[in-house]
């Protein structure tokens, strides 16, 4: 039996990149290069209501990828451009996002699983 952490990371690849996987494009602010990896667009729940402060569930848009497949890992404070398909149907259009600059990807807390929170972007 091999190392369990390595096996878990490998299983993560099955979850994010096999039948569940979708293509996600990244543009690096450091190199200007565009690369794509397999990952998953998701809605990550948080709980707050700006009107009342009450606890409710709000879905935050995010992409999840395996760190080991990324040529470069986004860091807090950087602005990355990200293209993904929010709608899980065949030939769904790619939509444009940027990484939320003040929110660090949750690296190393999930066996190599990175969650990147997204902001919608429009033409300036």
């Amino acid at each position: 039996m091999g190392n369990l952490r390595i096996e878990a990371e490998s299983d993560l690849g099955e979850m994010l990149e096999s039948d569940f996987g979708q293509q996600i494009f990244f543009k690096s602010p450091n190199t200007g290069n565009t690369f794509d990896v397999q990952g998953r667009f998701d809605l990550y729940p948080s709980r707050e209501n700006p009107d009342t402060g009450q606890m409710i569930i709000i879905a935050n848009a995010s992409v999840s990828v395996r760190a080991s497949t990324m040529p470069e890992i986004p860091k807090a404070g950087e602005k990355w451009a990200i293209r993904a398909q929010p709608t899980p149907v065949e030939n769904a259009p790619f939509e444009d996002f940027v990484m939320t600059p003040d929110q660090a990807p949750e690296e190393a807390t999930r066996m190599g699983w990175i969650t990147i929170f997204l902001q919608r972007i429009e033409q300036s």
């Binding site: 009107d51 935050n60 848009a61 602005k79 451009a81 919608r120 972007i121 429009e122």
Partner: protein
């Protein structure tokens, strides 16, 4: 007779609605949805958000009125602002998969994040509403009631919150207005009609089975 502050609030809502000019949407007292949709119009930089205006509280200071004259009602009117924003950037480069790296670096460096844009929109929204409320022509908040004075005493922002991939920002402000309340007096109580009592023939029962004939008084009209 309804008190004057009710009319003042309704007139203040109408005043803000009459001055919207596509910059904001003024709402009276109503529950807003939890999403930023109503505070955001795609591609419309003129539209800043929504403002909800409603009665929050009334103070009636001691010695606020005379025996026969009006009573001063220090009305606190809540203003609740909501705005929302997306990030902005040069999409001709950022959505082009064949863009040159140097152009991508420049375009990403120039991206404005949504929190900053929402913050700017909120300040512009508050400025717009403040200028309407404090315009000398609106010293009565658009009302026919003779308001003694009005001022905006506070403006405070909440933390930005992400809804999906859009950032929403809320803020609150308070208008204080001195509204004279005319005392209309208590309504004249209705006069009781005269009753006829019959003390002889009342027959009733109780759970004990005891004879309780003539135990009470019967009102016959």
């Amino acid at each position: 007779m309804p008190m004057n502050f009710i009319q003042v609030i309704n007139d203040a809502v109408a005043l803000l609605q009459a001055n919207e000019n596509g910059q904001y949407r003024a709402l009276g007292y109503q529950v807003l949805s939890d999403t930023p949709d109503e505070a955001f119009i795609e591609g419309d930089d003129t539209f800043l958000g929504t403002v909800r205006i409603f009665h929050k509280a009334s103070d009636f200071p001691a010695k606020s009125g005379s025996r026969n004259g009006p009573v001063n009602n220090e009305v606190k009117i809540a203003l609740e602002f909501k705005t929302a924003a997306k990030a902005k950037g040069d999409m001709t480069v950022l959505s082009d998969e064949s863009a040159l790296p140097a152009d991508v670096i420049t375009a990403l460096a120039a991206v404005q994040n949504a929190e900053l844009i929402a913050n700017g929109k909120m300040d512009n929204l508050f400025s717009t509403v403040y200028n309407i409320i404090m315009d000398l022509r609106n010293k009565k908040l658009g009302s026919s009631i003779n308001i003694g004075s009005r001022w905006i005493s506070q403006y405070a922002k909440d933390d930005p919150v992400r809804f999906g991939a859009i950032v929403a920002l809320t803020a609150g402000a308070t208008i204080t207005a001195l509204v004279p309340e005319q005392l209309s007096g208590a309504p004249t109580p209705a006069q009781p009609t005269e009753k006829t009592y019959d003390t002889d023939t009342v027959s009733t029962y109780d759970d004990t089975g005891a004879d309780v004939t003539n135990a009470g008084v019967k009102v016959t009209n």
